[in-house]
């Protein structure tokens, strides 16, 4: 077995070890390269900034705990921007597994920093089954779909919800998601009711969403942890996404290195195979 063959059959545990080192190294040594802004993130930020202060907006927590590293920093940055502008925020989720808990935990934590009051400045609607019906139904009246908030308080008892009947009272919908729900916010809510929608999604989903940004159906887009780091930079605070960019950078570089080494050994073996056949 020559060198290239040995290299191509390397024990996968060595690869795992290198990935583990690449992830943990930035925890010990801060490298911190500046995060460049993409036009899509800038557009999303500008869209929220251009809304009048005290506007009522929707912020959705449509993600599972598995993608918290990518999506939660987006939610936190969005909340900071919105609360800073004194916006009234209605949160909801189409994810039964933990969605309402994540929304509750994140929103209350950020709201506390800004001295916001539940029921007046923000409301958590929680979860309701069958998202297509939920999204469509709220176009008529939110109260028909959510008679009460996440804690069971009737909506009519919450001062913020007394001002809001349906999408016509919502100035902007900020979707943070790790699944295909963004498509429905676009096709049901944006297309049928005209409410502007912006999205923060996982890196895997981002390529699909570019087509909606191009068509104007999404006003802006955040893709993965890099998108979250961009938004943190725009909102001017350093959160977990900015700190996580070092680890993500090293792992990306490591994977590129693996791809290159794998291909060099593949080409070398193919050449030596051809020579052997001659």
């Amino acid at each position: 077995m020559n060198f290239w063959e040995k290299l191509s059959h390397i024990d996968r545990r060595w690869i795992y070890l290198l990935v583990a080192i690449a992830v943990t190294f930035p925890m010990l040594v801060v490298i911190r390269f500046p995060v460049e802004l993409s036009p899509e993130a800038q557009k999303l930020y500008d869209a929220v900034e251009s809304l009048p202060d005290s506007s009522v907006v929707f912020l959705t927590f449509d993600y599972y705990p598995s993608t918290l590293a990518e999506t939660e920093p987006m939610s936190i940055a969005a909340l900071k921007q919105m609360f800073r502008k004194d916006m009234k925020i209605i949160t909801m989720t189409t994810i039964p597994l933990g969605g309402p808990s994540i929304a509750e935990r994140v929103t209350r934590k950020v709201a506390e920093e800004y001295g916001k009051v539940y029921g007046e400045d923000f409301v958590n609607l929680g979860y309701k089954a069958n998202y297509v019906a939920v999204l469509k139904g709220m176009g008529g009246a939110i109260e028909t779909i959510y008679p009460a908030d996440n804690t069971g308080t009737p909506l009519r008892e919450l001062p913020l919800m007394q001002r809001v009947k349906n999408y016509s009272d919502i100035k902007f919908i900020y979707v943070v998601a790790d699944n295909a729900i963004v498509d429905y916010w676009i096709s049901i809510v944006n297309a049928q009711y005209g409410t502007p929608v912006g999205a923060g999604v996982t890196a895997v989903m981002a390529p699909k969403m570019y087509s909606f940004v191009e068509s104007g159906q999404l006003v802006g887009l955040l893709g993965g942890m890099k998108g979250a780091a961009e938004y943190e930079r725009l909102v001017k605070f350093e959160g977990t996404a900015t700190r996580g960019m070092d680890a993500q950078s090293l792992v990306h570089l490591l994977i590129i290195f693996f791809v290159l080494v794998g291909n060099i050994s593949f080409l070398a073996m193919r050449r030596s195979g051809k020579e052997a056949r001659r």
């Binding site: 705990p65 598995s66 069958n130 191009e214 792992v251 794998g262 593949f266």
Partner: protein, 236 residues
């Protein structure tokens, strides 16, 4: 009868949604009917969740009873289901009938442990067990992707080489270090990747896929409404 009734229900429900789309729910009878049907859908959706729980309990308890291989994991599933579900469904105050019974036995301060609010048992289990476990499972993908990239991502032909080069460029563009590296060659490279790869080639391909999938979904919906497609009833 067992076939005709579901087909008629599917047709009427589908037609209400299609026709209702064109009417304002506040100003027309059809719009109001559509709104009513949507409420039904969320209620039926709630019952399907219950059906899911019943199914999980039935399947897993059968395995535990018969002590089949790996029954301990099925038992863990059952315990997890009840540990999450029961405390979250218990009333947090004594205002309801069930609440008055529970808080005549237990102190009222226990109310904070029930429901789904901050500090409840459900909240604790979710934040400290469920969320970290799901995040761990997802994080492990990085290790598998690295290993797969090393073994399988090969420039075997022109198409694979094109894919490989594009992937490397996009991966570099998505990280601050990579972007700084690309700028060493030209300040315009990150912008070109965004304009030509992500907003150019990528958008063209994604639109093709989205339009194709939408047409497929529309034709499938039509087949279900007209009773041609009956697999949802367990028929071929």
């Amino acid at each position: 009868m067992r076939t005709t009734v579901p087909v008629v229900i599917a047709f009427i429900s589908g037609m209400i949604m299609v026709v209702g789309f064109f009417f304002n729910p506040e100003r027309s009878f059809l719009g109001r009917v559509e709104e009513e049907v949507l409420q039904w859908v969320t209620i039926v959706g709630g019952f399907t969740l219950l059906l899911g729980v019943v199914s999980i309990v039935r399947v897993n308890s059968k395995v535990v009873k018969q002590k089949k291989a790996g029954w301990i994991f099925n038992l863990a599933t059952l315990i997890s289901v009840f540990a999450m579900a029961i405390p979250s469904m218990l009333p947090v105050t004594k205002t309801s009938n069930l609440g008055s019974v529970i808080y005549s036995i237990f102190p009222e301060s226990w109310g904070s442990l029930f429901g789904t609010g901050t500090g409840s048992i459900y909240d604790w289990l979710f934040n400290y067990l469920d969320a970290p476990m799901m995040a761990t499972m997802f994080a492990m993908l990085a290790f598998y992707i690295a290993s797969a990239a090393y073994r399988a991502f090969r420039a075997r032909n022109a198409e694979a080489t094109l894919l490989l080069v594009t992937a490397v460029l996009v991966m570099l563009w998505r990280i601050p270090m990579g972007e700084a590296f690309l700028r060493l060659f030209s300040d315009n490279i990150p912008g070109y990747i965004n304009s030509y790869i992500m907003n150019g080639v990528n958008v063209a391909v994604q639109r093709g896929i989205i339009i194709g999938a939408a047409l497929g979904a529309a034709s499938m919906s039509l087949r279900i409404m007209l009773g041609i497609e009956r697999t949802y009833m367990g028929k071929g």
